[in-house]
């Protein structure tokens, strides 16, 4: 079995109407790797994840998934599509996109049901996913009654019920209160311990440091600006400034106001 999950070669994508998407992407993601794509809003992180999930297709270049070309035609083959969807799960940035059914229970059971699993197994997986995330009490709730944090947990539970090999996570900590953010990071770390392949789009450098083995920086020109170990990449202030992931800000240390560079969400300052 191939150890390469995704191989992206010379891939470019543009939105209908010629709007910029992504240019000249080349990278390989191996089994069990934990990757973060760092970039500012609009740099193409979400688009890249949608391409890796076979929801968008490259205008140029190729994407291979599990050793096979990931194309629109290939995904029309139901057995390939089932096998691919079974192995790759995608957490959307906006949980309202992902949670489209009337109740939490139906949401969590949706993917295993579509995979044609037996009713007993679907129920077992859904119940277990709710229990792992500690949201059993939300089972019969409707999505509009949930908080943002609860929606995110339900979205994660719906992926956990499928238990995919590859998790594509688009801004998993966005719009969450600090406690839920920490909870989500813990959850991602537990996936990492289980040997899952994680591909995370994020713009929070501190979170990236914690969860990633490998980091890619997407520039504002929609190209890969750099790749490497997070500890090395995130020390490169010039690179982070160029990618607009770092800025200069005036803030208080103890008494005097100073101005110097620092990454977003630096916890060391007031």
């Amino acid at each position: 079995m191939s150890d390469t999950i995704f191989k992206v070669s010379g891939m470019s994508y543009s939105y209908p109407g010629g709007l910029s998407g992504l240019y000249d992407m080349d990278f390989r993601i191996g089994r069990g790797e934990n990757i973060v794509f760092l970039g500012v809003n609009g740099s193409g992180k979400s688009t890249l994840l949608k391409l890796l999930d076979g929801l968008y297709f490259p205008k140029q270049g190729t994407i291979e998934a599990f050793g096979e070309p990931l194309t629109e035609k290939r995904l029309q083959d139901e057995s390939f599509a089932f096998a691919f969807r079974r192995r790759v799960g995608f957490l959307f940035q906006d949980p309202d996109s992902q949670l489209f059914l009337p109740t939490v229970w139906q949401e969590v059971a949706f993917s295993p049901l579509q995979m044609g699993l037996a009713r007993e197994e679907v129920e077992e997986r859904a119940a277990s996913a709710l229990a792992v995330l500690g949201i059993e009490k939300l089972k019969d709730r409707v999505p509009y009654q949930l908080s943002e944090g609860e929606k995110k947990k339900v979205a994660l539970a719906s992926l956990l019920a499928l238990d995919p090999e590859v998790w594509l996570l688009d801004e998993p900590t966005a719009n969450l209160d600090p406690r839920t953010q920490d909870w989500v990071i813990e959850f991602i770390l537990s996936l990492k311990e289980k040997g899952k392949t994680l591909i995370v789009a994020i713009h929070e450098l501190e979170v990236a440091k914690v969860i990633a083995d490998q980091a890619y920086i997407l520039g504002e020109d929609h190209r890969l600006a750099a790749a490497g170990k997070p500890q090395e990449i995130l020390q490169d202030e010039e690179l982070l400034l160029r990618a607009n992931l770092m800025h200069r800000r005036r803030h208080l240390h103890t008494d005097p106001v100073r101005t110097h560079r620092h990454p977003h969400r630096d916890p060391g300052h007031a």
């Binding site: 949608k50 929801l55 969807r85 996109s97 489209f100 009337p102 679907v122 859904a126």
Partner: protein, 289 residues
């Protein structure tokens, strides 16, 4: 106090819509008689009661079915005032307005019940022909009463079914009863996203309220409203795209599969047997003729 403008009226309407939905869901979760029944049996029996209401010509039969809905509402812990308001608030406005002309001998000739005006001779006014005596007729009142009671009973049955069944379970039951699955999925998604867009619309109106001091002219209000309608349309279009991608990503292939956990218990059997006996008795006594 100044007259309420369209912004505050719309805001109140949006808030009320959410409140009503939340209240309705709350009643569906109460441990009442109808709430405990299998939605599949409930849909079929309520449909049978609706058909009986639609075909009977007897006031007494309709009154009996209406009485049954009131008893069922009470047994299902639906507050009577709330239930009555849901049914009777709009009936005088719409059904009553349609039925009102039918009580006069101008529309329904017959035995005069109350004489209103007497003219020297019959006359015509445009296409209308008036008799010398304008009266409310016995036949007219009977016809109007049948019409109003038929509507009231049908609405009561529908309201009762919706109030005592969670929307999601109602949809599941329709799926189990072989309704097209894609249509059910669309209903479910529509209901789910209506609330999201109500919330978005409410926030837009609140944002406007927070930035508006004093009165604004009608043209400005119209411009703002049309721009917000456009924004909401774009937002819903973009969201529908993302929802479709999420469906694909989660294994959707166009063949919907749903999970249900319905259990047909002895209470359901009792309810179905009761409904069959009730309607059968009416039928054999000639109440459906």
């Amino acid at each position: 106090m100044s007259r309420k403008n369209f912004v505050s009226k719309t805001l109140a309407g949006l808030t009320e819509a959410i409140k009503q939905a939340v209240f309705a869901e709350r009643y569906a979760r109460l441990p009442g008689l109808l709430q405990g029944l299998d939605p599949r049996g409930k849909i079929i029996t309520f449909l049978a009661l609706l058909i009986a209401t639609a075909i009977t010509r007897h006031l007494a039969v309709m009154a009996l079915i209406y009485l049954l809905t009131v008893i069922l509402a009470a047994a299902s812990r639906i507050p009577m005032l709330f239930f009555m308001k849901r049914v009777w608030l709009f009936i005088p406005l719409f059904t009553g307005a349609i039925a009102l002309p039918a009580i006069f001998n101008v529309v329904t000739p017959g035995q005069p019940l109350i004489t209103l005006i007497t003219f020297s001779a019959p006359f015509s006014w445009g296409p209308l022909h008036f008799p010398a005596t304008i009266a409310i007729t016995q036949q007219g009142v009977h016809g109007a009463a049948i019409f109003i009671l038929r509507v009231a009973t049908s609405v009561s049955l529908s309201v009762l079914l919706v109030l005592t069944t969670q929307w999601s379970r109602l949809l599941q039951a329709l799926t189990a009863l072989r309704f097209p699955k894609v249509a059910i999925l669309i209903f479910g998604m529509t209901y789910r996203y209506i609330f999201l867009f109500i919330k978005v619309a409410e926030e837009m109106f609140l944002a406007r309220t927070s930035r508006t001091v004093g009165p604004t002219d009608t043209r400005e209000q119209q411009n703002w409203l049309s721009s917000r309608l456009g924004f909401l349309l774009t937002r819903s279009y973009n969201l529908s795209n993302d929802v479709y991608l999420a469906m694909l990503s989660r294994g959707w292939t166009g063949n919907a599969r749903f999970l249900d956990d319905f259990r047909f218990t002895w209470q359901d059997t009792v309810w179905v047997v009761f409904t069959i006996t009730f309607l059968g008795t009416i039928f054999f006594l000639g109440g459906m003729q």
